[in-house]
Symmetry: C2
Subunit: 182 residues, 2 copies
DNA sequence: AGCTTGCCTGACCGATCGGCCAGTTTTCAA
DNA sequence: TTGAAAACTGGCCGATCGGTCAGGCAAGCT
């Protein structure tokens, strides 16, 4: 059993994929394990065979985005403040656009996000990114950066009809206007 | 029975007040009728005696904010485009700050807000406001206005620690930067 | 063939949900 | 004081939730 069994990985992937779609469409709380199982073409017990519980499914859904954010934070840490800000503007938009589904999911669990240890690192990295985005110690700019992030995340929700490029362009303009980095 | 019975109105108000606090703190879905009843010092059956169901409680919670937004939309309709935009900027911020609790609640039910007829008018009025806020037919400015609203609403969430004036000032700066109406 | 191992499932559990109803307590006008 | 209307409640209902468990089933090793 050293090599991964194909069937195991295939089922796991299907569950995560369908869970992502359902979380995005109806929200985390409004999606039941039965919904996920039905969409994935297996039984609810199978979902719980592969994942220790509903929060574990959520963690698997968020994992790719969390990894990307963590990598971005790490990369920005080695740059000058100005360069880190520029990188944050460009990359944060990219991540939000590409992972817009995850953004949807995150907004749904915001009221109780503090009680979910499986997303703690992602939240912490997001806050770190907002620091880089501000590019200054000025509290006003820090707040404006958070304001911009809220707008950015909000814009990436329910934005299925927009193309990635259109969304990216819009967010870039908005972010640079708020941060006065045109 | 022509005049309102004092007891009726008093209990109703207490239920709505406690429901507001709970919806804001835990979210609409995570708050049960029993939670509301306990907080209001009555039984769950009493809540359902005064309101036809959980959605009706939500409608009552949102009602003051919905009325304010409707009034603002009506007022803006009689102004020139430029005046309407200026009014929208000022008043929308005021409303979001004053009713920030409602903003919290709304965000929680966003994934399923289309299926809630009791908040349809509020949503429609909000979209109308975003039009006034854009102040132009340019699709880019329209999108930026929506971006600004998302940022504004996001900023008003979980912002209990900030004073109203601080929040107002921050939102004013951010809005005018995005809309380039400094 | 027998047997282990990994994958999967139906049936079931306790808890909680929104909502309903019969009946009790309170209120208040006559 | 009295009686009907209004206000309120305990208890119950069906549905659904996340989660558990014993067992079925196919694949591969011996």
């Amino acid at each position: 059993m050293a090599a991964t069994t194909p069937a195991r990985e295939r089922t796991r992937r299907e569950i995560v994929h369908q869970a992502m779609d359902l979380f995005q469409a109806r929200g985390y709380n409004a999606t039941s394990l039965q919904d996920i199982a039905t969409a994935a073409g297996c039984s609810k017990a199978t979902v719980l065979y592969h994942f220790s519980g509903k929060p574990a499914v959520l963690a698997a859904v968020l994992e790719p985005a969390a990894a990307d954010v963590a990598a971005l934070v790490k990369a920005a840490a080695e740059l000058s403040r100005a360069d880190a800000q520029e990188l944050a503007i460009k990359s944060f938009i990219d991540l939000a656009v590409v992972h817009r589904g995850v953004v949807d999911v995150l907004q749904d669990i915001l009221p109780v996000i503090e009680q979910m240890p499986e997303v703690g690192q992602l939240v912490a990295d997001g806050l770190q990114l907002s620091d880089y985005l501000a590019g200054s110690d000025d509290p006003l700019e820090q707040d404006l950066a958070k304001f911009a992030i809220n707008g950015l995340l909000g814009e990436c929700r329910h934005a299925q009809e927009r193309t990635d490029d259109d969304l990216r362009r819009l967010c870039d303009i908005a972010l640079r206007r708020i941060l006065r980095r045109a």
